[in-house]
Structure formats: C-alpha cells, structure tokens
C-alpha cells in the first residue's frame, strides 16, 4: 500500500496528475464537438500547426502561450475559411495548412540550432516537467473553456448538429465557429506541453467516441466524455510511473484499451440483447402506422 502512494510524495508528480486530469478533461470536452463536427483530425493537425507557432514565438521572444494560441487560432480560421470559400474538404485543408505550419517550425529549429531541447518536449510531451506557471495556464484555459461551453450550451448544440439551419433560426453561427477555433487553439496549446504534439489527437478523439458508444443523449455524452478523459489521463500517468513508459503514450494506450473494451461490449450487447437502447444500428425502426 505505501508503495502505491509513493509517487504522491513528489511535488512534480502531484502537479503532473493535476495537469493531466485538467488537460484530459479539456481535450475530451472539446473532442465531443470536434468529433460530431466530423473534424476528428483537427486535434492532430492543429497541434502540429501550433508547434510552428511555438517555435516562431520563441525566436521572436513572445510569450509561448500567447504566441502559440494566436498562431493556432489563425491556422484554425484559415482552415475554416479555406473550406468555406473553396471546393476543398476540411480534411484536405487541415492536411495542407497544419503540415505547412509544422514544417515552418521544423525549418526554423533546424536552422537556429538553439533551444531544440524544449521543442522536443513539445513534440513528445513531458508532463513530469510541468511547473507552477504551466499549471496555472492549464487551469485558466480549462475553466474559461468549460464556462463558455456551459453558458453557450444551446448555441453550440444547435450549431454543431445543424449549422445551416441554426443560422436560419438566428444562431450567430459565424461567431460560434470563430469562438470554437479560439477555444481549440487554446486547448491544443496548453495540452501540448503535457501530452505532446503527437498524442493530442487521441486525447481529443477517443473519450467522445467511447462516450458515444454508451449514450444517445448529447448532454450525457458531454459529461461522460469529460469524465472518461479525466480518468484515463490520471490513471495513465499513474501507471506510467510504475512501468516507466512515456506519460503521453501511457495515457493514449490506456484510452485505446478502454475504447476496444467498450466497443466489444456494445457489440456483444447488441448481438445478444438486441432490444437494448444502445444498440443503435440494430434498433428496429418503428412502423409508420402511428399517424392519426
């Protein structure tokens, strides 16, 4: 028993657990909207784009959080603008814009030969190196974004479900999208330090997908996804302490295992108990004979 509590004696580990739970919950919450908008890859793409921004702000001595967030926001807006005005799918736009931005970061790093160490941390994630300032930035971002989703819950729901029609009903979809891009950039920037550029995609996509397998209600999906994100991050970091693997990889592998487990369970459930509420694809459509 004392051995299981051992990691909590270290300040860095406590900070890591708090940071991971905040980031895991935040990514999973954003992830609900990202997945339902069919932009699953934007987490992956944007974290690469933000890497470019981080490098540029370091070279220009701008505060990392501000520089990288602005960069990420501009990339997200550019993606949205490219897909709106041109016959280009959002997957292709994400591929072009974010990779170019990432390449810009790599190009600058490889020319400058300085401070490459920090950028490696951003690439692979170093949750154990999270300091007090990082923790504050993460907490602020998580609080602000959760508050926005809470207050504007109805607007985000309508604009995500049916953006075209939401606009006819007076929902300011343009503003909702812009706000969403900004929140997305903020999420990616604070998550990058903890999870690493390469692992963010999983933290954004897996929890909402697992939640979706378990519920048909939007509200429950939001709560469930956030909870799953928090739990997987905390457990993942905790396990990584004992088995000595990279913390980001540990979190992602744990989430992926949970996904496989829930998917198998829902398949078994729908095969053996076809009447259950969750077995969406197998539910019989009610007959049309109820008109009077």
């Amino acid at each position: 028993m004392p051995m299981l509590l051992e990691p909590f004696e270290f300040g860095f580990f406590v900070r890591a657990i708090i940071a991971a739970s905040l980031v895991g919950g935040l990514c999973a919450l954003m992830g609900v909207y990202i997945v339902l908008r069919g932009m699953s890859y934007i987490g992956h793409g944007l974290s690469h784009a933000v890497f470019g921004g981080a490098v540029v702000s370091a070279i220009m001595s701008i505060n990392f959080f501000i520089g990288a967030t602005v960069w990420g926001f501009l990339s997200a807006m550019l993606i949205a603008w490219t897909t709106r005005k041109n016959p280009i799918g959002s997957d292709a736009a994400i591929g072009i814009i974010t990779t170019a931005s990432f390449a810009l970061g790599i190009a600058i790093v490889s020319r400058s030969h300085t401070a490459t160490h920090n950028f490696e941390a951003a690439l692979w994630g170093s949750v154990l190196a999270v300091d007090r300032d990082d923790l504050i930035a993460i907490a602020v971002a998580a609080l602000v974004i959760a508050a926005i989703f809470f207050v504007a819950y109805k607007l985000f729901l309508f604009a995500t479900f049916d953006p075209d029609v939401a606009q006819f009903y007076g929902v300011p979809t343009g503003w909702v999208d812009t706000l969403f891009s900004l929140m997305l950039a903020g999420t990616v920037v604070v998550s990058m330090q903890v999870l690493g550029v390469t692992m963010i995609a999983a933290a954004v996509v897996i929890p909402p997908i697992v939640a979706r397998l378990l519920t048909n209600s939007f509200r429950i999906m939001v709560l469930l996804s956030t909870g799953i994100g928090v739990i997987c991050s905390v457990l993942g970091i905790y396990i990584s302490y004992f088995v000595d693997v990279s913390s980001g990889a540990s979190v992602v592998l744990l989430s992926a295992a949970l996904f496989v487990a829930v998917l198998s369970w829902s398949k078994i459930r729908s095969n053996w108990f076809p009447g259950s509420q969750d077995s969406l694809s197998r539910l019989p459509r009610e007959s049309a004979g109820t008109f009077e």
């Binding site: 339902l36 207050v151 479900f161 049916d162 939007f218 049309a288």
Partner: protein, 314 residues
C-alpha cells in the same frame, strides 16, 4: 386535428393584407453568380405554395433567399414587410431529412427545443417553460410520447414531425419546407400533406419545394414553377399543362385529367407509342394559360409573371 390556439387569431382571408413575402425583380446567388434572376413573387398571408422545378432550378435557393441566407444581388426582398436582414418575426424552416446527421446523439425533445434556442440564448439550459412549449407542440403533432427517443429510432413520418415541431415551436407565421415528402412512402407523404393542410387552415403561411408534381397538383392551391426564374405561378389546373411543364423541365410530360384534377403521366414515350404516335396530353383549360405564363421574348426580356391574387382581384 391540429389547431394551435396561438395561431388561430391569424388573418385568413383579408383583402387588405400585406404580402408576407415579397420579391421584386430579385437576383440572388453566391460569389456574384446568380442562381435566381428577375424573380417577382408575392406570398400572401394564408397562402400554401408549392415550388416546382427540376434539380438545380433554384427551389432551395429561393427558400434560402427568403430566409436571408443567400445574398440578394439586385432587386428588393421584403419579409413581414421589412427588408429581410432586419426581420424580427421568425420563419420556421424544415430542412430536407436527407441533410440530417442521424447518428448525432440527440433525442426528439432536444431537437424540438432547439427551435427555442434564441428565445433565451445566453441562459445555459432550456427552461421548464420551453420544455412545456416543446411538449405541447409534440403532442399536437402526435409525437409527444417519443420525447426521450433518439432521432434515429423513429419512422419517416415521425422524423418529419420532429423537424416540423422544431419549426413550429416558436409559432411562426411563415413555414418553409425543403422537399418535405422526398424519399418517404406514399402513406407518410399523404399524412405529411394533410398535416400541412391543417397547419395552413390554422393560419400558417406555407411554402414548400418539391419534385412531386402530382402531389402538389392534388394538395396545393397554388404552384410556382421555377427554372432559374419564375416560369409560371397559379393554381394547379392552370400551371400543370404540357406546355408549361416543357418550359420548366424541358421534357415532354403528358397531362391527363382525373376528376377535374390535372395529373402528369410518367414515361411519355411509352404512352405516346401506344397511341399511334399521337400525343396523349390534353391541355387543361388552355385558354387561361396566357395570364400565368410570363412572356419570354427571344431577346431575353422577361415580363414578370402574373400572380393568381392579381388575376382573381381583376
């Protein structure tokens, strides 16, 4: 069956009524390319109008223009007697069911309440009063018992009613529907049409786009034919004629009369071949064709279509 009390005060036949929708010489489209040009259209309170036209003719664009979602390039568009950008009264809109993401995790009540989103936009959740309004409307449409169902666990007719309920939950005077009977079976189509009739009798002005000529010919008092502009506008027995259908669709469509109602017979060649090469079509009430068909001069000058309101007040 369906008489929302809050709609019953609404004007039915009022000779002094102002148009609820008025387009004067409107051209509209995207990126400077007009999809619709020189559209003149007046929709009066209490009208029930079907928009007929081939794919790509601008039916949906016309609906979206009225909703203020398509840039008006020239001309004047007024809805509820105000320029469309500044309109205050909501119009209900029912999208084509095809465009709905049926895997999205929403229940019936969540969708219906979306119709009230902007009535209390910055309050975090839907309030009791909004929930009651939503359930009132769902009861009227016969889906009150389905509130907790996922939208995919419904029949086609029920799905259509969910989106109708969302459109009606704010008691709009104007209801726009994009192909409400596309891809549903015959019985559901009939049910939806009767439901719309009931709404219309309760005072709701309705504009629907459709591909189903015979359905609108039977159910609707007024048909507007579109193909980039308005080709004809009037009651079914004047508009549904081989001549006009040729103008609209560019295809030969024999029209037969059944109990005084015009009907289009499908597969024209099949029937004409069996009639010794003679056209089968009888043109109903051909003498009235002139007023409903805009004169299209070879120069391209369009004289605006007459409206049956104008014609009947002569």
């Amino acid at each position: 069956m369906l008489h929302p009390p809050e709609l019953e005060h609404l004007h039915r036949p009022d000779p002094n009524a102002r148009p609820i929708v008025e387009l004067k010489n409107v051209s509209a489209g995207y990126n400077g390319v007009p999809v619709l040009s020189d559209v003149d259209l007046k929709i009066m309170p209490g009208d029930f109008v079907g928009l007929l036209g081939p794919s790509g003719s601008g039916k949906t664009t016309l609906l979206r223009t009225i909703l203020g979602a398509v840039p008006v390039q020239s001309g004047e568009l007024r809805v509820h007697d105000t320029p469309v950008r500044a309109r205050s009264k909501p119009a209900g809109y029912v999208p084509q069911l095809e465009t709905i993401d049926w895997n999205f995790p929403v229940t019936v009540e969540e969708v219906v309440m979306m119709g009230r989103t902007m009535s209390n936009a910055w309050f975090p959740w839907f309030r009791k009063q909004e929930r009651e309004l939503a359930y009132d409307m769902m009861e009227r449409l016969g889906i009150g018992h389905l509130g907790k169902r996922h939208i995919r666990q419904l029949s086609g007719g029920q799905q259509q009613r969910v989106f109708l309920a969302r459109a009606l939950v704010s008691s709009p005077e104007l209801l726009l529907l994009d192909e409400p009977t596309a891809g549903v079976d015959v019985k559901t189509r009939d049910d939806v049409m009767h439901l719309l009739h009931d709404l219309n009798h309760a005072g709701v002005t309705i504009i629907e786009s459709t591909h189903e000529i015979n359905t609108v010919a039977v159910h609707l008092p007024r048909i507007v034919c579109i193909n980039g502009t308005i080709v004809a506008d009037g009651p079914p027995n004047r508009v549904i004629s081989p001549h006009i259908l040729w103008e609209v669709y560019g295809a030969e469509m024999p029209v037969i009369q059944y109990h005084g109602m015009p009907m289009v017979a499908e597969s024209a060649h099949f029937w004409i071949d069996r009639n010794g090469g003679e056209p089968l079509a009888t043109v109903p009430d051909d003498s009235h064709r002139e007023p409903v068909l805009p004169h299209t001069h070879p120069t391209g000058d369009n004289v605006p279509a007459h409206h049956h309101h104008d014609a009947s007040s002569d």
